[in-house]
């Protein structure tokens, strides 16, 4: 179990590097798919089957397919070697390190106070099956859950509005612009 966990963790990190490392955007997208899959594998190792499966359904199965679809439709070429300036590279490095530290700190604090074994036992008891996730989602966190659906709805409406507005503005201009 631990061995599989290490293998998956290494795969996750490698594919994560692949996402930002590849010049070809399509390969980056494939790496992201691989990354999401390995994360799902890690969830499954922690007995959170529902989480693992929904990760595959939602991210790998729906969102990434759409991303891939668009990438293939646009048929993007391999990006030329855009060089980062020293200033920008330094800024990016600082920001990355800051994010890493702020993300790692609570995790490290949590792990130092709770032994890993009890964590895993607790996980199998409370997080694992569909029923307990449903109870949490529709009981204790029902307001947050409904609010998140509202946020998604706003996102959809906003996207449609942006697409519509551009279309209305561009259509007459392109016709007359070419005629003149």
């Amino acid at each position: 179990m631990t061995f599989m966990g290490f293998v998956l963790a290494v795969c996750a990190v490698a594919s994560g590097i692949g996402v930002i490392g590849f010049r070809n955007p399509l390969y980056s997208a494939f790496s992201l798919v691989a990354n999401l899959m390995t994360m799902a594998g890690l969830y499954a190792l922690l007995d959170a089957h529902f989480l693992a499966v929904s990760q595959v359904v939602v991210y790998a199965g729906a969102i990434m397919v759409l991303v891939l679809f668009v990438l293939m439709l646009l048929n993007l070429k391999v990006e030329g070697g855009a060089k980062l300036g020293l200033m920008r590279a330094g800024l990016a490095l600082t920001a990355g390190v800051l994010i890493l530290v702020t993300g790692l700190k609570p995790i490290m604090e949590h792990f130092s106070s709770v032994p890993a074994i009890t964590l895993r036992e607790n996980a199998t008891k409370t997080v694992g099956d569909v029923a307990s996730i449903g109870e949490q989602l529709f009981g204790r966190y029902v307001v947050q859950f409904e609010l998140s659906s509202l946020v998604l709805l706003i996102g959809i409406v906003g996207a449609v509005m942006l697409a519509k507005r551009k279309h209305v503005q561009l259509a007459p201009r392109s016709v007359f612009g070419e005629a003149e």
């Binding site: 399509l26 499966v53 595959v56 790998a60």
Partner: protein, 365 residues
């Protein structure tokens, strides 16, 4: 140790079952299409085989019969040809992705078979055995997830083909599979509401009960609209029947696998036929009571009852395989905008209504 042994045996059996069903579908497709189109079909290879060896004599009539029925042609000759053919890789494309695409198209389908139960639980020599590789809590969702992962095989295959036909084919396939996944998922949600579980085994066991003491509580009785939606959506998901736009040979050569040859080409077909079998198994398990015989209650946990249940289930699965192949060779191909209209304007609203209706009925009753 014994648990590991049982697991290995179960994996081998389920893989074998999936491949057997896929090859059965291959043969049904070849010979069935001939029957439907009033042709003779494959009937030569092995049909006139002769031998003087005494130990081969008793098998000759059976072999000749298989040859005459086209079994040898479809299952032996075709695979040998596939292995012997040149493995062609188009220029200027990623060799790795080109090789990996057929595997990605087949593997998820095989994995999805792992969560399907093929018989009721039974006890033999004091060991309790589940006729299922992995009974996970979210089994139904797992099948859906594997179905959506199979899109990648098709998408990558079309892209590595490095020509317009395959790219168009894979774009069509991706759009079609995403569109029809939505109504499929919503039908599953309605089923989950009816049977109160995501576990396929529990869903099948619940179908053994009688509704109001009269009708068997099969999925088709509880969700008639859901069954129609799932049948249509599933046939579109398998890219078959009237929905085979991604490989429309009159428009796109062969669609996403235009640039594939030899065994890789056959792997795509294997994946497709395994998908047919998987979908037939899903229909039988979720809507037609799995291993249950209507109004007959078999004893629980006895090996012969499990075996009988297994054969009943297999009969139902083969029936749905045949049904899909008959539909595929009967109906003409859709036009692409009709396909999208059917998915988004008919099936999606219908499945949403079905879901709301199911929820209301569940609360009211």
């Amino acid at each position: 140790m014994f648990g590991l042994f049982v697991l290995i045996v179960k994996v081998a059996l389920v893989m074998n079952l999936a491949l057997m069903l896929a090859s059965l579908c291959t043969w049904l497709e070849r010979k069935g299409s001939a029957l439907i189109q009033d042709r003779v079909g494959a009937n030569r290879a092995g049909a006139f085989i002769e031998s003087d060896k005494w130990f081969l004599k008793p098998f000759l009539p059976a072999v000749r019969m298989m040859g005459w029925l086209g079994v040898i042609n479809t299952l032996v000759c075709d695979s040998l040809k596939g292995i012997a053919k040149e493995d062609f890789i188009p220029e200027g494309t990623s060799k790795f992705l080109h090789a990996v695409a057929p595997i990605i198209a087949v593997l998820p389908i095989m994995l999805a078979f792992g969560v399907l139960p093929f018989a009721p639980d039974f006890t033999i020599f004091g060991h309790h055995i589940q006729a299922q590789v992995a009974r996970i809590d979210a089994g139904l969702l797992f099948v859906l997830a594997m179905g959506s992962v199979a899109v990648y095989g098709v998408a990558i295959a079309g892209w590595t083909g490095n020509n317009k036909f395959s790219l168009l084919g894979s774009l069509r396939a991706a759009a079609q599979m995403i569109s029809y996944e939505l109504p499929m998922g919503l039908v599953f949600v309605a089923l989950i509401i009816v049977f109160g579980s995501l576990d396929i085994y529990t869903i099948v066991q619940k179908q053994g009960e009688l509704l109001w003491g009269v009708v068997p509580q099969w999925g088709i009785v509880m969700q008639p609209v859901g069954f129609v939606i799932l049948l249509l959506a599933g046939m579109a998901e398998t890219k078959r029947g009237p929905f085979d736009l991604p490989e429309a040979e009159s428009e796109l050569a062969a669609g996403y696998f235009t640039e594939y040859s030899g065994m890789k080409f056959l792997l795509f077909w294997l994946g497709e036929f395994a998908e047919i079998a998987l979908f037939a198994a899903l229909l039988a398990l979720l809507f037609f009571g799995g291993w249950h015989i209507p109004w007959v209650t078999l004893p629980e946990g006895v090996w012969w009852a499990a075996l009988l249940g297994h054969f009943v289930l297999m009969a139902k699965i083969v029936f749905f395989c045949v049904l899909q192949i008959v539909i595929r060779w009967t109906l003409p191909r859709f036009r692409y905008d009709h396909l999208m209209n059917l998915g988004w304007k008919m099936l999606l609203p219908l499945s949403l209504l079905n879901l709301i209706g199911t929820a209301v009925l569940k609360v009211a009753l």
